[in-house]
């Protein structure tokens, strides 16, 4: 009777072990699939974030570069024509509101145009004639210039066509 029980146990064990041998293959395939899916999905998400972010920088910086190059190609660039160019080039409105200040060291009116804190250009204009005096593209090349600290900025002409007439006049006086 005891021998019969041992035999039954052994045969059951045969079946169990055979099942394990068959199933472990599927288990490893499944584990491998999960490991691959997780690793590649993580990598994909990270890469997508980086690549999309860089594409955004390329596309938006191209707008700024085009703005400054087109401005330099104008026959007599000034604050008005610069502002007009801004609107033409930035049809999708990526640029924020331009920051206009007076540079105390030169007395020029400076206009900072960019699409975020890191990427911008600063155009300088003569206050009397509104003529373009130069454009600083340092931020696009990785060495951002400091914007002059001038709290009178809000009173200055931004050069925009839809600025108030008073503000526009004040820049040309």
């Amino acid at each position: 009777m005891k021998l019969k029980h041992v035999l039954i146990f052994s045969v059951v064990l045969n079946v169990l072990l055979l099942s394990l041998v068959v199933m472990q293959k599927g288990g490893y395939v499944s584990q491998a699939k999960n490991a691959y899916t997780k690793k590649t999905a993580d990598y994909y998400n990270q890469a997508m974030g980086i690549i999309d972010g860089q594409n955004d920088v390329i596309a938006k910086n191209a707008l700024l570069w085009r703005l400054v190059c087109d401005a330099e190609q104008q026959a007599a660039p000034n604050s008005k024509s610069f502002a007009t160019l801004e609107k033409q080039i930035d049809a999708n409105g990526f640029f924020g509101s331009p920051e206009v200040k007076t540079d105390p060291s030169t007395g020029y009116l400076t206009r900072k145009v960019g699409w975020n804190e890191d990427y911008f250009v600063i155009a300088s204009f003569d206050k009397a004639s509104s003529a373009l005096k130069g454009i600083n593209v340092g931020a696009l090349l990785g060495h951002a210039p400091a914007m002059p600290a001038d709290d009178a900025a809000t009173d200055e002409d931004t050069g925009d066509a839809d600025d108030s007439a008073d503000a526009g006049d004040s820049a040309q006086q």
Partner: protein, 155 residues
């Protein structure tokens, strides 16, 4: 069933159990190795593909920055051809840019189907054409596909 037959069957059963246990551990080791290798190879194939896109994008950023700088400085400064050449040499110190010159026109490649040109006449710039550079759509050039399905057949 008599005791003798039972003993024979039990002996065979125990032997089969031993064989199955040995087989299970042997296969386990082989399966694990195959699975790890398959994951490693498939993952690397994908990450290599992504890295290629990232590298191409970085190269474009570097190249386009140099071309934009060259274009801007040329338009805003001395527009003579000699000044342009000097500027180009100063900016492209690593000779990364693909520059070609023909009949007063200097062309610089900015990618597949993308080039910027500078036309000189009488030693001075008459036209800079950088439309291809600002029209370049990076999202259509630099994008990664989602990882392909894991294709693994255990041997």
């Amino acid at each position: 069933m008599d005791a003798k037959k039972m003993k024979i069957i039990l002996g065979v059963s125990i032997a089969v159990n031993v064989v199955l246990i040995v087989l299970m551990f042997t296969l386990k080791s082989g399966y694990k190795e195959q699975a790890q290798k398959a994951v490693s190879v498939s993952t690397k194939a994908y990450t290599d593909q992504v890295a290629k896109v990232v590298n191409a994008q970085n190269t474009f950023i570097s190249t386009s920055n140099m071309i934009w700088q060259l274009t801007f400085e040329t338009l805003s400064g001395d527009r003579s051809e000699s000044a342009f050449d000097a500027r180009l040499a100063a900016i492209d110190t690593g000779h990364q840019l693909q520059v070609s010159k023909a009949s007063g026109k200097t062309t610089i490649a900015c990618g597949a189907g993308c080039s910027v040109s500078y036309q000189f006449a009488g030693g001075n710039l008459v036209k800079a054409d950088y439309a291809a550079l600002y029209s370049f759509a990076p999202e259509s050039e630099f994008s990664v596909m989602a990882p392909p399905a894991f294709n693994f057949q255990m041997k």
